[in-house]
Amino acid sequence: MPRVVIDAEICKGCVLCVEFCPRDALEMSDATNSRGHHPAVLRDDEKCTGCAVCALVCPGVCIEVYR
């Protein structure tokens, strides 16, 4: 099953991946990483198609997409 791995330590919580995920599969976590950012997380495994749009728009280069 397609899935994405987001490096929560490096993610700066910019929300771009969440905004552009065509399946609305991502959301921002309430947790803070050590730099004080709320990282993005996969909200719904089921929805993700592994289209990698999230990785495409991520300026932090912190998303890996597996398919």
């Binding site: 771009l16 950012h37 495409l56 728009v57 991520c58 280069v61 597996y66």
Partner: protein, 259 residues
């Protein structure tokens, strides 16, 4: 079911140094695209990155290539010096709008006119990011910046410069395109142009430049996502997306963002 496969490898041409950009700043996106292109063309070991002065000043830490940090605006002159010594190196400058279009106008025009065989990645975010958000030569009319606190007016500061159109009057350039780092489609298109630009250089055809409309939400006083829509909806009005020149295809065309 097939093996699970990583479909977006972290580019070889990027080091693992974490980039210092603001969250959501599309400098990061631009870096990734350039690195992917360098990987795809297999030229990392003979690439020289020219880092210039702006938020991307540390580009020499991020690109896993040989690199030279150039004085503000002088990247094209430095690139010229390198290329005239090592014509087989793959050289690109990475310049902001302050760097390229303000202090560095002379150097970019002349490198283009000479048809120097290197590639320019031009990040147009309509503002001086690094120095805290002053007006740039590409700042839109009415835009508030830290040095146009009442919004840019023609009377005080004139009109924004369209770099691609300006360079397109010269005979030297072999590839000129303007793309936007806004929607996923635009980003894909941007990567195609970046690749084209490097291919132009590899073919020895001369000067290539890709302008990337980029965000600086920090100084635009917006949220990161809002800034992306600002690029898409507002910046592209003054800065139309277009492949102005492509010596390899001989074409000039509107950017097709759905391809």
């Amino acid at each position: 079911m097939a093996e699970e496969k990583l479909i977006n490898r972290y580019p070889d041409a990027l080091t693992d140094v974490e980039m210092r950009y603001c969250p959501g700043c599309t400098h990061g996106t631009a870096h990734r695209l350039v690195a992917e292109v360098i990987d795809e063309l297999g030229v990392r070991d003979r690439t020289v990155t020219i880092a210039t002065v702006g938020c991307s000043v540390f580009a020499y830490e991020y690109f896993d290539t040989d690199a030279v940090q150039a004085a503000h605006g002088r990247g094209p002159a430095v690139a010229t010096g390198i290329k005239r010594v090592h014509p087989d190196s793959v050289v690109f400058t990475y310049q902001g709008d302050g760097d390229l279009a303000s202090i560095g106008m002379g150097e970019i025009v002349h490198a283009a006119a000479r048809g120097e065989n290197f590639t320019v990645i031009f990040i147009n975010n309509a503002v001086f990011g690094m120095t805290q958000g002053q007006m740039a030569p590409t700042t839109l009319m009415g835009q508030k910046t830290t040095t146009s606190p009442r919004g840019r007016t023609a009377e005080e500061a004139g009109w924004p410069i369209r770099v691609c159109e300006l360079l397109d009057t010269l005979e030297g350039p072999a590839f000129i395109a303007r793309e936007a780092l806004s929607t996923p489609q635009r980003i894909r298109s941007a990567k195609r142009s970046i690749k084209r630009a490097f291919e132009t250089q590899l073919a020895g055809r001369g000067f290539s430049l890709v302008e990337l409309l980029s965000s600086c939400w920090t100084w635009w006083d917006m949220e990161p996502v809002e800034a992306i829509y600002h690029i898409e909806n507002t910046m592209t009005e003054h800065f139309p997306l277009r492949i102005f020149r492509d010596c390899l295809t001989g074409q000039s065309e509107e950017v097709d963002s759905n391809a």
